[in-house]
Symmetry: C2
Subunit: 345 residues, 2 copies
DNA sequence: TCGCGGAATTAGATCGTTCCAAAAATTCGG
DNA sequence: CCGAATTTTTGGAACGATCTAATTCCGCGA
C-alpha cells in the first residue's frame, strides 16, 4: 500500500505471493503466466508503487528501448518539425526518443553522443553540427549502435543519411527565377565546408547553366544559416559593381533575413528583389510577401530516418542505404510577377 | 586495441594490469589512485574502446546524472528557447538533459513521464500539457524525484513552478492599448481551464478596469493557442455587434494568426486593429508590422527552473518555492500610432 | 632488521533485473 | 488412479558497475 521509497520486483513478488521470476514474466507480458496470477501481480505492482528499473534490465537485455535524437539547432522550427516526425514513428514502435540539442557545436555534440552511449541507446539519429568529422561516429558504429544522419550528409559517406534532394531543389529554384526574367542571380548563405551547402550551390549553378545564365552572372555569398546571415549576405551582394536581382537562399531563415535587410534599404521583397527559400517552414506561407520556397517534407524525412534506425536495430546492422527525399518548389509571392516578356533565353 | 564488442570495466582492468576497483576509482576521478596508475588506466580505456555503462552504475549509485525535460510543444519556438536556457545550466553542472515532447497530449505525457522514471532520472522539469492533473505528479514526488513546472502552473499548487508574471504582463498590455486610445478591448486565445490563461485574462481585466474601461467593453474569446486559434478569435470578435478595436493575445502565435486574419479581410494590423502579443518570441520583432509583445525572458526562466531542480536534487527535497519572473512590455508597431484624442467611447 | 603508519590497491558483496534449467502443478488419456 | 505430456512457477547465476573493509605497498625511524 504505502508506496515504499523504492520498491523492487522482489517487493512486488512478496506482496503478490509469487517469485520474482513470475513478476518479471508479467512485466514483459509473457503469455506463459496464468491469467489470474498475472492479475494478482499487476495489483501488487500498483499496491507497492513499483517503478520498473530499466537500467537494471538493460544489464541483461540485448538492447534498450531508447533512441537518441541529436539535433543541431532546436530553435530552428525546421528541426523541431523533424523531431516531431520521428517521434510519431517511435511512439508506435514502443521506443522512447530522447532529444538533445548540440547548438551547432561539435564539442557539445561529442559530449551529448557520449552521454547517449553511456545511457545505452539502441540507436541514434543525428543531424550533425557544422564541422562534424565522420570520425565522430566510427566508434559508435564499431560498438554496434546504428546511426542515421538526418538532413545533413557527411563528406565521408560511411554513415547512412536521409536527406532531401538538395541539388534538384536548388536547380528548380534557379530555373524559376530565370523564368521570371532574372539574369543576374545569387546564392545566399551556408558555408562551402557543409556538404548540404555544396549540394545546393551545385544545383543552383546547374539550374543557371541549363537556363542560359552563365558563370559570370552568378554570385555565391557565404554566411550563417540564420536571419543574421541572410542580412549580411544581401549587404555583401548589393555592394558589388553589378548586383544580382534575385537570390536562392540556403534556407528560409536566411531568406527571412534578406527580406528584413531589403526593407531596411527601402526595397520591397518580391518587387525589387526576388527570393526563393529552402525547407518551406510553416512561417514561409505566413510572411508578407509569402515566401516561395523549396518544400522538403521535413516530417516525412524524419519518419523515414526513424524507420531506418528501427530496421537497422532489428537486423543488427550499422549500415543502410542513403535515402534522398523528393522536393518541390512551392511558388508564392516573393518572386513577384513575371518580369517583362521581351527578354529571350 | 581492437575495440571489443562491449568492453567492460573488467576488460579495462585486465588491459591495464590492475583490478576493476582501481578502474572504477579512476572513472570517478578519485584522488586515491596514484597518478601514473591513473594514466595507465586511462590509456587502457582508450585501447579497449570502453564505454561507461551508466545503467549498471545507477544500480548502486544514489542517483543518476540525467534530468528529464518534458515539453508540451517543441514546435513552438518559445518552448525551444526555454529548453535551450535549461540546457545551458545543466551542461555546466555535468548533468545531461533529455528532452521529450508531449504534443500537448496528457496521455502521451503520462507515457513520457513513466519512461523517464524508468530511466532513473534524477529530476524533472515539466511544461505540462493542457489538462494535466496534479495527480500525475504525486507518484513521482512520492518516490523522491523532484519536479519543477515551467511556464505553466497547476491549479493544485503542490508542485513548485517557475512562471512569468502573467497577470502583470496582461495588465501592462491592456493599459498600453487604452493609452493608445482604444476603448473596446478583447482578449484572444487560451481556455479558461488553463491556469496561465486565467491569470492573463485576470490581469487583462484588471488593467482595463484600472484605466477606466468597464466590463461591458471587454470581450474574451477562447481559442487554441496557435495561429489557427488566433484567426478564429478575430473572426468571432468582429462578428459581434459592437466589435473591439484592439486585442491582447494569449501569446505571439495567436497574435500572428490574428494578423493573418486581418489581412485576409483587407484590414491592416496596427492601423485598423491594434494587437499585443505575449512571450516576445524572436519572430515578433521581425514581423511586419513588428509585434508589440510582453517579454518574459524565456531563457532566464528556463535557467531558473534548472537551478531549482538542481538544488532540490542536492538537498533531497521535492518541494520548493514558486518563482515568478518579471515581465515587461516591448513596444513595437502593432498598435499603430496613438489614436486621435477627439473620439470618445 | 623490524615494525609502523599512511597511501594505494583489491576482493567480494551488492544493486534490480533477465534468462535458463529444472521443479512443481495441472491436465488428460487409458 | 497412474504416468506422460503440458502448463506454470521458481531458484540461482548472470549483467557491469560501486562500495566497504581488508590487504598489500612503501618509506622510514628505531
Amino acid at each position: 500500500m504505502a508506496a515504499r521509497e523504492n520498491a523492487t520486483i522482489l517487493d512486488v513478488a512478496r506482496q503478490a505471493g509469487v517469485s520474482k521470476s513470475t513478476v518479471s514474466l508479467v512485466l514483459q507480458g509473457s503469455g506463459l503466466v496464468r491469467p489470474d496470477t498475472a492479475v494478482k501481480v499487476r495489483k501488487a505492482i500498483e499496491d507497492v508503487g513499483y517503478v520498473y528499473n530499466r537500467g537494471a534490465a538493460n544489464l541483461r537485455k540485448a538492447h534498450s528501448n531508447v533512441i537518441g535524437m541529436v539535433i543541431n539547432d532546436l530553435t530552428n522550427p525546421f528541426f523541431a518539425e523533424l523531431a516531431v516526425g520521428m517521434e510519431r514513428v517511435f511512439q508506435s514502435a514502443g521506443v522512447v526518443p530522447f532529444i538533445a540539442n548540440t547548438a551547432e557545436n561539435p564539442v557539445r555534440q561529442e559530449e551529448v553522443l557520449k552521454s547517449m552511449m553511456e545511457q545505452g541507446v539502441a540507436g541514434l539519429i543525428v543531424s550533425p553540427a557544422r564541422g562534424t568529422a565522420a570520425e565522430a561516429f566510427r566508434r559508435i558504429q564499431q560498438s554496434g549502435v546504428p546511426v542515421v544522419l538526418a538532413m545533413r550528409r557527411l563528406r565521408d559517406g560511411r554513415v547512412p543519411a536521409v536527406v532531401p534532394d538538395n541539388q534538384r531543389g536548388a536547380a528548380l529554384a534557379a530555373a524559376h527565377l530565370i523564368r521570371k526574367g532574372h539574369r543576374r542571380l545569387a546564392f545566399f548563405g551556408g558555408f562551402s565546408d557543409m556538404v548540404v551547402c555544396q549540394e545546393r550551390v551545385d544545383g543552383f549553378r546547374e539550374g543557371c547553366e541549363a537556363n542560359g545564365v552563365g558563370h559570370e552572372d552568378i554570385t555565391v555569398v557565404e554566411g550563417e544559416t540564420n536571419r543574421k546571415g541572410g542580412m549580411a549576405c544581401l549587404d555583401a551582394a548589393l555592394a558589388q559593381p553589378n548586383p544580382p536581382t534575385a537570390a536562392v537562399c540556403f534556407n528560409d531563415a536566411v531568406a527571412f533575413g534578406v527580406m528584413l535587410a531589403l526593407r531596411k534599404r527601402g526595397m520591397e521583397p518580391g518587387r525589387d528583389f526576388a527570393l526563393v527559400g529552402f525547407d518551406d517552414v510553416v512561417e514561409a506561407q505566413h510572411y508578407v510577401p509569402a515566401l516561395t520556397s523549396v518544400a522538403v517534407d521535413t516530417a516525412g524525412l524524419g519518419e523515414r530516418a526513424a524507420h531506418s534506425v528501427l530496421r537497422m536495430i532489428q537486423t543488427r546492422t550499422t549500415s543502410a542505404e542513403d535515402h534522398v527525399g523528393a522536393v518541390n518548389l512551392v511558388v508564392r509571392e516573393s518572386c513577384g510577377p513575371d518580369l517583362n516578356v521581351s527578354r529571350m533565353a
